[in-house]
């Protein structure tokens, strides 16, 4: 039974539920306590020990149902078609006897045992299916069955032809059942392994090459990243909360002890909440990437309290409220189309955008603000207004520029990146999630 539960844990881990060895032990203990008689109770017990959040519970229920689904042998009506006058006692191998006697429970047991022997939980790629089918068949003793067929077809007793016929049909049936079984196990174990590979692959892929269907997955990856960023960040801040000794308060509080200082009181240090202003380019030249920049922005918004978001193209507009008002899909669509936001999607004009920013929002930039600019700095040969970026740089704690182009292209053609560079605390290429992750790491380390 332990093997079965361990396989279930493997399947769960693959589907994204994090399970530690100690939790596996709990599950084993729980299962032996409640027993395997009642499916519902067993499921509840395992769910309590293994799945530790609401989403994990949903994954668990789904996985449990698939894992303990009946195989082909146990569904009634799927018995091998038997020849009435076949003689089980003529055969040698236990497998042939089970087939001829229609012993479904025995077959099912044999198959699962063989599957465990073959380590079915290790299946990762669809190309391995045939291999596992063969391994399981061999484990069940298909060789003995073949020998029986061969031997009986040579002998010519009266009942042999019928027995041979029944065995051949039985072999077909067996193969089909094992194939279905492996198919289902593949869906259970491999879907998860594929997922991990896919995640890894997407991280290094250029954002501009991603396809529509990957957006969802990408959103999850980014969300996870931002969350870990924020977790680390906020924890560091709290650790350093106690400030200097508050002498006045200490004396007052300790008057009761004849002025002896028993309980020192500390000044509370102000918590340095991350304060951010993000300027995101949504023009056509960065269209493919801007969606992900916005996705990143959306996730940041969910996690950080104090963040102001702006988008710009020919001019600039504040869009912070959009993130709170709409779910992610709709928010992104609105932002990219720019409808009703007061942003003009004509020629990209960094100069105008910076002028707008200076006029309306420069006041809000304080010495604790991090300004994050996402864009390719391609200004259509307009005035770059580097002076304003200089002003922002002077007021803000730091200016970070993320450019989807790689550094050799900076400053070529209408790119003004080289002229903006002196006013950036940090300028990095950012064209894949991997890059984004590096920037986030930098942000965390330097706060």
């Amino acid at each position: 039974m332990e093997q079965v539960l361990c396989n279930l844990v493997v399947a769960l881990r693959g589907s994204g539920v994090r399970i530690s060895p100690s939790e596996t032990m709990d599950a084993l203990a729980a299962a032996s306590l409640v027993g395997f008689q009642e499916r519902g109770v067993l499921r509840d017990a395992l769910s309590v020990a293994l799945a530790k959040s609401r989403t994990e519970k949903e994954i668990f229920t789904d996985c449990f149902d698939r894992f303990f689904s009946p195989d082909g042998f146990s569904t009634p009506g799927a018995t091998p078609p038997l020849a009435a006058d076949a003689a089980p006692n003529e055969t040698d191998s236990p497998l042939s006897q089970m087939l001829l006697e229609g012993d479904r429970a025995g077959l099912s047991m044999a198959m699962r045992e063989a599957a465990d022997q073959a380590d079915i939980a290790g299946i990762t790629f669809f190309t391995q299916k045939r291999l596992y089918i063969q391994r399981i068949l061999r484990g069940m003793g298909v060789d003995g069955l073949d020998r029986d067929i061969l031997r009986l077809s040579r002998e010519d007793q009266e009942t042999s032809p019928q027995t041979v016929g029944a065995l051949k049909i039985g072999r077909e049936f067996l193969f089909e059942q094992v194939r279905d079984f492996v198919e289902r196990q593949y869906a259970l174990y491999a879907a998860s392994a594929q997922e991990a590979i896919m995640d890894r692959y997407l991280r290094h892929m250029k954002l501009s090459n991603l396809e529509q269907r990957d957006y969802e997955r990408m959103h999850r990856i980014i969300q996870r990243m931002v969350k870990s960023f924020n977790d680390t960040h906020s924890r560091r801040k709290k650790g350093a909360r106690r400030g200097l000794l508050d002498l006045k308060k200490t004396l007052r509080e300790n008057l009761a002890y004849q002025g002896l200082i028993f309980e020192p009181r500390w000044r509370a240090r102000k918590i340095d909440r991350p304060d951010m202003a993000v300027l995101c380019d949504v023009s056509r030249s960065v269209e493919a990437v801007s969606r992900f920049m916005l996705l990143f922005l959306y996730s940041l918004n969910e996690e950080l309290a104090k963040i102001r978001s702006f988008i710009f193209c020919s001019n600039m507009a504040e869009v912070s409220y959009i993130f709170d008002a709409y779910p992610v899909e709709e928010a992104l669509m609105r932002l990219q189309r720019g409808t009703g936001l007061g942003v003009d999607l004509g020629r990209t004009d960094y100069g105008q955008a910076f002028r707008d920013f200076k006029e309306k929002w420069l006041e809000k930039i304080g010495r604790r603000t991090t300004v994050l600019i996402l864009g390719d700095a391609r200004n259509n040969y307009g005035a770059p207004e580097t002076g304003i970026l200089g002003l922002i740089h002077k007021r803000a704690r730091r200016v970070i520029w993320l450019n989807p182009e790689s550094p050799p292209f900076w400053g070529t053609g209408d790119s003004e990146m080289r002229r903006y560079l002196p006013f950036c605390t940090l300028a990095r290429e950012c064209s894949s999630v991997h890059h984004l992750e590096r920037v986030v790491c930098f942000l965390v380390r330097n706060t």
């Binding site: 530690s20 100690s22 309590v48 799945a51 959040s53 924890r235």
Partner: protein, 312 residues
């Protein structure tokens, strides 16, 4: 006592019946969890929307086990001195003052500073003994001889540091007081932690707990809850009011009515002597279920059809 509890947790159905007797109707899921928590000696982390009876579950457990309930309400800034123990500074000070005269007697006949110090050293621990220790909820729960039910309420509100500190208590049922050493539980308490999910709890904490998610009950279970908690409500009305609340939960409200509000509503309807759930009765008492003006307005608009659905 131990034997008694073994009997009380003999079977899952037994637990379920027992909790019903103390006024808590639980689903099989909850009963299974309680059963496992007793036998595996693990804390239960209870999550779920507000007002589904998370805290109530701990109270019921205390009543069922006939043990004291020790409650620790968490909030931001909660620290060891409020949760675990504190030295009684005032008492220590007072005693040193009273015993000042004794000091002279004590040191009589000593020669030199080193000798005097050595003599004082023989007594140095008296001011840091259990006599001067003010136990807070966690320590109280460990010291309870017959075992206690410990409820750590809304643990998601506490700081991550406090959460880390809880780990020692929850996994080994012991705490370390630097001056006294490690204090072990006299008898393992039955621990509940509740969380409203305002922040994700750490992996380490979750690993040490059984995790129970209590969703809003389905109609059948909720009818049963109303029957137990508000006896005297006629069966017909009970079905109707539960049906109405279940409908409300399906709407896009700012705050959906909780189970406790259903029970309150049932009691109010009983006091008002309502026989049937008509639109008028609902309109007059809607503020018991809904706590936002916008929600009330929204529901009032479609009261007629909703009421009709349940009365039928």
């Amino acid at each position: 006592m131990g034997l008694d509890n073994q009997r009380k947790f003999g079977a899952i159905q037994e637990v379920r019946r027992g909790f019903q007797d103390v006024g808590y109707v639980c689903s099989t899921q909850i009963a299974t969890t309680l059963y496992l928590a007793h036998h595996l000696q693990k804390p239960i982390l209870v999550e779920g929307p507000a007002g589904v009876g998370k805290t109530e579950l701990a109270k019921a457990a205390a009543a069922y086990l006939d043990r004291p309930l020790i409650r620790l309400q968490c909030y931001e800034g909660l620290d060891e001195s409020k949760a675990l123990y504190e030295w009684k500074y005032g008492k220590q000070l007072l005693y040193t003052q009273i015993l000042k005269d004794k000091l002279a007697d004590l040191l009589e006949g000593t020669e030199g500073l080193a000798d005097a110090l050595a003599r004082v050293h023989q007594y140095d621990d008296i001011f840091f003994s259990e006599r001067f220790l003010a136990p807070r909820p966690l320590l109280l729960a460990l010291q309870e001889k017959e075992g206690a039910v410990l409820l750590v309420d809304e643990v998601d509100r506490s700081d991550p540091e406090f959460e880390a500190f809880l780990l020692e208590v929850l996994s080994d049922f012991q705490v370390s007081v630097p001056e006294l050493g490690t204090i072990h539980a006299v008898s393992r308490p039955y621990v509940f932690l509740t969380s409203n999910n305002t922040r994700e709890m750490s992996e380490a904490l979750k690993r040490r707990c059984l995790h129970l998610y209590i969703p809003f009950p389905d109609a059948r279970l909720e009818r049963e809850i109303v029957r137990v908690r508000a006896p005297g409500v006629p069966e017909r009305l009970r079905a109707q009011l539960v049906g109405f609340v279940q409908q409300l939960r399906g709407l896009d409200l700012k705050k959906v009515p909780s189970v406790s509000e259903t029970i309150d509503w049932a009691r109010v309807l009983m006091i008002l002597n309502a026989r049937d759930l008509g639109p008028d009765v609902i309109r007059d008492t809607l503020n018991i279920l809904l706590k936002f003006e916008a929600d009330i307005e929204m529901v009032e608009g479609r009261l007629g059809e909703m009421a009709q659905k349940v009365v039928r």
